[in-house]
């Protein structure tokens, strides 16, 4: 094995993308779908939670921030295993029928990325200091309007938090494996497919899928960069 494999993988990736290979397309779209859904779910909780943490003083605030900080690096398999036991038919959340479904994987990924999202957004908002809050409040803003203004001013940090969260969900393997089980046509996503093809010795296809994964991440980050450049 050597450079040829990588080059061949790159060529294969191009071929698969250009020929719009059905299986590859389906896996890629499913990967995007689960990660987008996970990011959405996480933001529904994460955005208000972050605003609450930054704007309010309450007992245990430091502890909560410390908790989210330390959960940023949680191993995906550990979380996957934990959720597997919750979601399995005999588990406490078995009735939700989330195991081996795309929705289940998204929920798992949402829990995975929530700490990243909260930690990043909290630090983005906190970097917009007290002065900004004082400014909008003296112009007559209510507490709610103040939080909207602060999030809007912390826009670039908040969007970075969302993109990083999406990237983490999109590129993780542990939860997709534990909760999705890599069922072809149902829960197979890019990362689980790569793991499977590699274990089968199909390095060419593995590389092709990996390059697609990389390409999506890069394209997204480029897009966000461009968005930020255009608006500031």
């Amino acid at each position: 094995m050597g450079w040829q494999t990588i080059v061949a993988g790159l060529a294969e990736a191009f071929r698969l993308i250009i020929s719009l290979d059905k299986t590859v397309l389906e896996i890629t779209v499913r990967s995007l779908y689960t990660a987008i859904l996970a990011t959405l779910l996480a933001s529904i909780v994460g955005l208000p939670l972050s605003i609450f943490i930054t704007m309010k003083e309450f007992p245990g605030k430091r502890g909560l921030k410390f908790f989210f900080n330390s959960m940023v690096g949680i191993p995906t398999v550990t979380l996957g295993l934990f959720l597997y036991s919750l979601f399995s038919r005999s588990g406490p959340l078995g009735t939700l029928s989330l195991l081996y479904t795309v929705r289940g994987v998204s929920v798992g990924q949402a829990i995975l990325i929530l700490p990243i999202m909260v930690t990043f957004i909290v630090s983005a908002i906190e970097s917009k200091d007290q002065e900004l809050r004082d400014l909008v409040r003296t112009l007559g803003a209510s507490e709610y309007e103040t939080s909207i203004a602060v999030v809007r001013e912390a826009y670039s940090g908040v969007s970075l938090a969302l993109v990083s969260s999406f990237n983490r969900a999109f590129a993780e393997l542990g939860i997709a494996t534990m909760l999705g089980a890599n069922i072809s046509g149902i829960t197979r996503v890019l990362t689980t497919a790569i793991a499977l093809e590699t274990s089968k010795g199909e390095l060419g296809l593995s590389f092709a899928l990996s390059f697609i994964l990389l390409f999506v991440v890069l394209a997204l980050n480029y897009f966000i960069n461009w968005l930020q450049g255009g608006s500031s």
């Binding site: 002065e131 900004l132 004082d134 809007r152 001013e153």
Partner: protein, 339 residues
């Protein structure tokens, strides 16, 4: 009475920023003077409803202000900060912000923004990005952003301290016009400004009101006006240097940019010759004025700019000083007070 304060105290953890302030404010222009860090900003923030007093009673229009109804106070009064801060976007977005959250219809907002830009002498600037404004323009836009809300009270924290004289005088003119229609409370170290604008002055020191009265009655103003110099500061290797009219003063505060400094006349040492001293500032020049007041003598020395040194009558006699005599002045870097 707009405001009435009884025993208003504000502490931050260990520091007491304000201690038992008793004060009433009516329809007037009130100046607050004092060195930095004596509680001027804290007092303004309490009047603005941005900080709650730790103790004491604050009333606005005879209504007691608590943490619950501070929003009511903030709808009627607006504060302008020393360093203007802007929301992302252009001048229009910033000035319109307060009107928009009050649900003012857009055509009226447009009209009001144009009108207030005229008031601050910046017509046609609505669509300039705030990042492209000069320091003076920024502060004038910040003033416009407050005035467009037609507040009952306008609170200003050192609005002209970082500005060149041109912009400062425009702001002073606008404030004079606006004082007809609203209460103005201004914290400043620009004593000529406070003397011209204010009906009444408070002199604040360590969180307490030391003196209070009309500008011409407040002794702090007369004392304070000696040895105040605006200049450009740079900070290198732990020492700050400020250039004032061709001479360079050393001082200790780590600041850069346009600042104003003050040296107390009693901190200046006069000597006939250069002396070897730990004082970092020593200059030479002729005596251009001598004035005796209450047993002390104020000696004016022109070393490029005029410094006033305060010595006792006895020293003055013993040193045999006279007008035109060349003399040295020296003072420590730490005697230079940043305003």
């Amino acid at each position: 009475m707009k405001y009435s304060l009884q025993g208003v105290t504000k502490s931050y953890e260990k520091i007491e920023a304000l201690r038992g302030i008793d004060l009433t404010i009516g329809d007037e222009v009130l100046g607050i003077i004092g060195y930095s860090g004596v509680g001027k900003t804290t007092l303004l923030k309490i009047l603005a409803g941005l900080e709650t007093p730790t103790a004491g009673i604050l009333k606005y229009n005879d209504k007691q202000i608590t943490a619950e109804n501070m929003a009511f106070l903030r709808k009627n009064v607006t504060m302008i900060f020393q360093t203007p801060l802007f929301l992302r976007g252009d001048v229009f977005t910033n000035i319109a912000y307060g009107l928009r959250i009050r649900n003012t219809p857009e055509p009226i907002i447009k009209e009001q923004v144009e009108k207030v830009l005229d008031t601050v002498r910046l017509p046609g600037l609505a669509h300039r990005d705030t990042k492209d404004l000069s320091g003076g323009e920024q502060q004038r836009v910040a003033l416009a952003r407050a005035l467009v809300l037609d507040p009952e009270v306008l609170l200003l924290d050192e609005p002209t301290s970082n500005l060149d004289p041109g912009n400062a005088s425009i702001i002073n003119d606008v404030l004079r016009e606006e004082s007809e229609s609203r209460v103005i409370v201004i914290a400043t170290h620009d004593l000529p400004q406070v003397s011209r604008l204010a009906d009444r002055v408070l002199y604040l020191m360590n969180g307490v009101i030391i003196e209070e009265g009309a500008p011409e009655q407040v002794e702090a103003i007369t004392r304070f006006t000696e040895n105040i110099f605006p200049g450009i500061s740079s900070h290198v290797d732990g020492v700050s240097t400020i250039k004032v009219e061709g001479i360079e003063l050393k001082f200790t505060e780590p600041v850069e940019g346009r600042v104003s400094i003050h040296v107390r006349p009693q901190d200046i040492i006069l000597s006939k010759d250069w002396i070897e001293t730990s004082a970092r500032n020593q200059f030479r020049g002729p005596i251009v004025g001598v004035e005796e007041k209450n047993g002390v003598v104020l000696v004016s020395v022109d070393v490029g700019t005029i410094f006033r040194a305060q010595i006792t009558r006895k020293s003055f006699d013993e040193m045999r000083l006279f007008l035109g005599k060349e003399i040295n002045i020296s003072f420590k870097a730490s005697s230079v007070i940043l305003l």
